[in-house]
């Protein structure tokens, strides 16, 4: 069954066309990767899917429901979670509190009982805390539960963002370059984390430059080039697609990297 369906999507910034007439469908339950060189429009696509940017044209539907024009918090309500290429951490809060923010939509709150700290509010808080701890443990961050978030390594923060997104209990999670900047051990952990997320029934939309990881974890891959679709298919189809191979300059995919791996987007999200 199709979970996410994108048709005729278009977005340009001034003269730059970031996404040009893009179509694709994401079946429920898969790991769906989007690859392409820097500037191909991957982050812009995520920003449209999550409501941060409004597409110039085209439609986005989730479970058959039209998403275009909804603000990010409404899109979050329909079960969409995401992480960011350049981290968006609540540095003014602890790790646990960051993940508790992820539980926002699941917590029932009554302002009176919160302000007076009535037993009902205390119970709800305890429940939420357990959800957040479970999400942190799931991401292998059990030891950081009570740490402040501004003293942690990049790799830990990346996983914390994932824990925060998982705490939402989403039906789909979008990850923007989760392995960028990670060392080999951390990348291997990330691979197994993505697998576990997928196994728990969440559809994964992955943007990633590390081809080893992409080819190991994906069910389907979409290749973007200047905002449009160069190829789409299973990992074997993509690896053997002459156009993809040509576009990546006779790429020897054995070194695990297609395209440039430097830096990232220069934009805020």
């Amino acid at each position: 069954m199709t979970l996410l369906k994108v048709e005729g999507l278009l977005k340009s910034f001034g003269g730059v066309t970031a996404i040009a007439d893009l179509d694709f469908e994401v079946p429920e339950g898969v790991v769906y990767s989007i690859i392409g060189p820097n500037g191909a429009g991957k982050t812009t696509l995520f920003n449209m899917l999550s409501g941060i940017y409004i597409p110039d044209e085209g439609s986005i539907s989730l479970n058959g429901k039209d998403m275009v024009g909804l603000s990010p918090h409404k899109i979050a309500r329909s079960g969409v979670a995401r992480t960011f290429q350049n981290l968006q951490i609540f540095f003014n809060m602890s790790v646990l509190e960051n993940v508790l923010v992820g539980c926002h939509l699941r917590i029932k709150e009554n302002l009176i009982s919160t302000a007076l700290r009535l037993p009902m509010a205390v119970r709800e808080e305890a429940k939420a805390k357990q959800w957040a701890i479970d999400a942190l443990n799931f991401c292998g961050l059990g030891e950081y539960i009570s740490s402040p978030s501004d003293a942690l390594s990049y790799g830990v923060l990346k996983r914390m963002e994932i824990a925060r997104a998982l705490a939402m209990k989403p039906s789909i999670i979008m990850m923007d370059e989760p392995a960028a900047g990670l060392n080999d051990t951390e990348t291997a952990e990330m691979l197994s984390l993505i697998r576990r997320i997928s196994e728990s029934g969440i559809t994964v939309l992955l943007v990633e430059h590390n081809m080893n990881l992409v080819m190991q974890v994906s069910d389907r891959v979409l290749v973007l080039d200047y905002g449009s679709r160069l190829a789409e298919g299973s990992t074997e189809e993509i690896q053997n697609n002459p156009q993809v191979i040509a576009a990546y300059l006779g790429t020897d995919t054995n070194d695990g990297v297609i395209g440039t791996k430097t830096g990232g987007s220069h934009y805020a999200v």
């Binding site: 609540f90 540095f91 809060m93 923010v101 007076l116 443990n137 059990g142 209990k169 576990r196």
Partner: protein
């Protein structure tokens, strides 16, 4: 637990002071002023420290509360308690109406807009002489009576204001440590991430702005009944800056820090008589120095220092807790 501990210590101090120093001007009169300023600083800190939205016009809401009470009780013979409620209603409506356009702005623009609002309100207080008494203000504001008990002496006001302070600290701390409180702190950390967690950042901003205005209006009314006389001077731009200085001095995003800031800046002018002429300069100087050398605030810096000393001398370093298993399911 920390939440309750701070509150208990504060309550003990507030109770002990008048017992240790009976009939002491500093304790009752200045103490009442400290408590009042502390409540204002806490309310501003909700907006500035926690939600990260600067306001240079907070004194305006304090003023709207005070003048609503004063006008309704002196010119329309309203019951003081009713007039406090009416003041909050008026303030709430004004805050709600201006919140949306103002809070779309960020940084310097937000600072300028709130500054402008504060100045407009103080000009109205001076110019609308028929209602506000103009620069001379309003006098003969009746005292407040609670259940037949008239709050008249300095000591009575100390008791009332201390109680209000404790109540506000308790409520605000409960709020901060809840779903709504985390939502408003998330705003400060990353608006885009907050939105992606399902938080309607526009409405959270509006709500915290209105809440902070309501608290200011409430103590504004109390202030009017306590003083029996008010004039626009008390609600000027300079007082807004003084409140910002209190918050910054104590440390943004710390309720007890805001109390500390209020304490220091209320006592200083009492101790140094010369201070009065240079008040605004001193506040400006404090703001600059704090921003440059101690952006986390004096209170928070002291707190960190004390807890570091405490840890070093009384507790051996804690062993690192073992990592928990990885296979719990979030679903």
């Amino acid at each position: 637990m920390k939440r309750i501990k701070g509150l208990i210590i504060l309550a003990i101090i507030l109770i002990a002071l008048p017992i240790l120093f009976p009939n002491n001007y500093f304790i009752t009169v200045v103490g009442t002023a400290v408590a009042l300023h502390a409540v204002l600083a806490i309310s501003l800190n909700l907006l500035m420290g926690y939600a990260g939205q600067i306001s240079l016009g907070h004194a305006a809401f304090f003023g709207i509360g005070a003048y609503s009470s004063a006008i309704l009780t002196t010119q329309h013979q309203w019951n003081p308690l009713l007039s406090i409620g009416a003041g909050m209603l008026i303030t709430g409506i004004i805050a709600f109406v201006i919140a949306r356009p103002i809070l779309k702005l960020k940084g310097h623009y937000l600072a300028m807009a709130t500054l402008g609002f504060g100045i407009i309100v103080s000009i109205i207080l001076v110019q609308a002489g028929n209602f506000t008494g103009g620069p001379d203000g309003l006098s003969d504001i009746p005292p407040l009576a609670l259940f037949g008990w008239t709050i008249s002496s300095d000591f009575h006001w100390y008791v009332v204001m201390s109680t209000v302070l404790l109540l506000i600290v308790w409520l605000v701390n409960n709020l901060i440590d809840s779903r709504s409180g985390r939502a408003l702190r998330a705003l400060h950390g990353s608006e885009v991430a907050a939105e992606m967690m399902g938080i309607n950042t526009t409405s959270v901003k509006t709500n915290v702005f209105v809440l902070s205005a309501l608290i200011a209006s409430f103590v504004g009314s109390l202030f009017a009944h306590q003083q029996a006389f008010i004039s626009p001077d008390s609600f000027s731009f300079f007082f807004s800056i003084e409140l910002v200085t209190m918050v910054v001095l104590g440390g943004l995003a710390s309720t007890y820090g805001a109390i500390f800031g209020a304490l220091v800046l209320t006592f200083l002018p009492e101790l140094l008589v010369v201070f009065e002429d240079y008040e605004v300069m001193v506040f400006g100087g404090i703001l600059m120095l704090m921003m440059i050398f101690m952006p986390q605030g004096l209170f928070v810096a002291l707190e960190n220092l004390i807890s570091r000393l405490y840890r070093n001398y009384f507790n051996p370093p804690l062993p690192v807790p073992a990592s928990d298993g990885e296979n719990h399911d979030v679903a």
